[in-house]
Symmetry: C2
Subunit: 327 residues, 2 copies
């Protein structure tokens, strides 16, 4: 991501300033968790996309700093609340907010971050702030819907691959599209161009999540405190598992059912067994193929943008690098 | 509240329409709790204030319907999340959302209602929607701060009366002021008038909460599923208790400390004993006096509004009726 290092640093400084502002706010019990979750780092992908889009359409990227802050605050709000929902003890190898403080503080500090995500948009002109608020609130509603669908899937026996793709689109992908669109709005881009950059981000997000499923089963991401096969152990309905269920013969279905019922004490056997089935059914390849399809759609949406080929190529490279870290 | 019956009905129909819209939204697990909490009724005080203010400044009140919906959605979001924080099983004698469904669904359906409170403001013109979003987001931040302070007070030994007044201002009063101000913005009122109507609502809210403290100790509100002395049993730091602590002699302090330590099995003894101390120290009268002070301040803020005396008198009567139901 060398090509956007300066944008990363630009946002980083802005976020640091914002965090310093938090230190004086009272009550501290409300704002310390906000400062804490923002201190845990991460790729800052969403704010970066807002700045990239603003720069892409030839406006100084600092114009989009409050849009960037908005989506980062929202993303971190959703991490705090999702970690409660998942009863997750760790986030980036550090204690989650509800573990470090308690659930009540985690609920409330998440709430205030969600409000502030909207609040920072008031810094823009009347015209921009409503446009931004419109796409952002629509997206935020979709993210909540995606999160609820994800929870629902845990207790539904039959989830189709299409339903899964719809869920990850809402839960993960639309916020990437929204981040880019907000930057494009800040740059004063035409509506058609805003829509194309949104679609680019959305399909990139779908590809990203699909490759994340592959990564979880085949590589693990120890830097995020995840273990290889975490999804498999948890019977998580990923693209891999759903596709395998769809394609399995009767014999394989029986085998899969047996493996899914294995408890924690047989984790290694479970992972190995399920991956044998994945291999037999070539679901890893199918998942990568599907991801590639969405990557192509994403990149196609860049084609007609009225911006320099150099900038387009930079963004294309960035997207490919982002996806490559995943396989 | 006969004088505003038509406004109540106006909002009621609008809310019914909104709720019908929810029935088709998916996933149902996310929107059923929203529909449920909105079905539990209530005074609809905040939306009513938005419509009243719009009407006061001579605009058709339906102009303020989305502001009214905004503050009602926000209020109900805060009820869902507060009920989780308080582990409350009942709300208006019905199961709370986290009891009827579960905590995860209650967190997430509250979140989506908070987002939608902002979302509905996008229906206004660019100018209005930013002005509304500005006062509303500021207020929403304050409400979260007030809620956190309220939680903090549970575990702090020394809370002053001033700190308590600050907390109830944030937690309860500013949203009443905000509701009125939003209606005034919809009516195109001057900034000074917006500010006066805001202060009217804020001080009305403080008076309302203080009289609620009196009510809890001296009358109870069985229609809301509360018992007489509920605050006393829970050692809740109300104005009454804090003022009593401030004024108590050494003998009375010792007696109070003893009573506060009594367990559930001695509830009746506790209530009776603490109320003897309250009587000795005249804290009921002091609390009513303080409430009256805020009522006067509130009504003073109506004086210079450039609206008909008839409308002012209606609003004054409404405020007094609202407070009267409390003592």
């Amino acid at each position: 991501m060398k090509q956007y290092e300066h944008l990363f640093r630009l946002f980083h400084s802005y976020l640091e300033q914002y965090r310093i502002g938090l230190h004086n706010r009272k009550p501290a019990e409300l704002y310390k968790p906000e400062d804490y979750i923002l201190s845990l780092g991460g790729k800052r992908l969403r704010p970066l996309l807002a700045l990239i889009a603003c720069d892409l359409f030839d406006r100084a990227p600092d114009k989009a700093l409050d849009s960037a802050l908005c989506v980062e605050l929202f993303h971190n709000f959703s991490l705090i609340h999702d970690d409660i929902l998942d009863a997750a003890p760790l986030r980036r190898n550090q204690a989650t907010v509800h573990t470090k403080w308690n659930t009540n503080i985690a609920i409330l500090s998440g709430d205030v971050m969600l409000v502030k995500a909207f609040h920072v948009l008031n810094k823009y002109s009347q015209e921009e702030s409503r446009e931004l608020s419109f796409i952002f609130s629509n997206t935020a509603i979709e993210v909540c819907e995606g999160q609820q669908l994800d929870m629902n899937f845990e207790s539904i026996d039959e989830v189709t691959v299409d339903q899964y793709l719809h869920m990850i689109t809402l839960k993960t992908a639309v916020l990437l599209g929204c981040s880019l669109k907000m930057g494009a709005i800040n740059a004063g881009a035409q509506e058609l161009d805003q829509q194309n950059i949104y679609e680019f981000g959305k399909h990139l997000g779908i590809a990203f999540q699909l490759l994340d499923d592959v990564l979880d089963a085949y590589a693990g991401t120890p830097e995020f405190g995840k273990q290889i096969g975490g999804d498999i152990i948890a019977n998580k309905k990923t693209y891999l598992l759903l596709k395998a269920t769809e394609l399995a013969s009767d014999r394989q279905k029986k085998e899969l059912d047996h493996l899914l019922k294995l408890g924690k004490e047989s984790s290694q056997e479970k992972i190995a067994g399920i991956k044998v089935l994945f291999d037999e059914l070539h679901v890893k390849e199918l998942c990568i193929e599907r991801a590639n399809k969405h990557t192509s759609i994403a990149i196609n949406h860049l084609k007609n943008l009225p911006v320099s080929e150099f900038k387009k190529e930079n963004l294309r490279q960035f997207a490919l690098e982002l996806l490559k870290r995943n396989v």
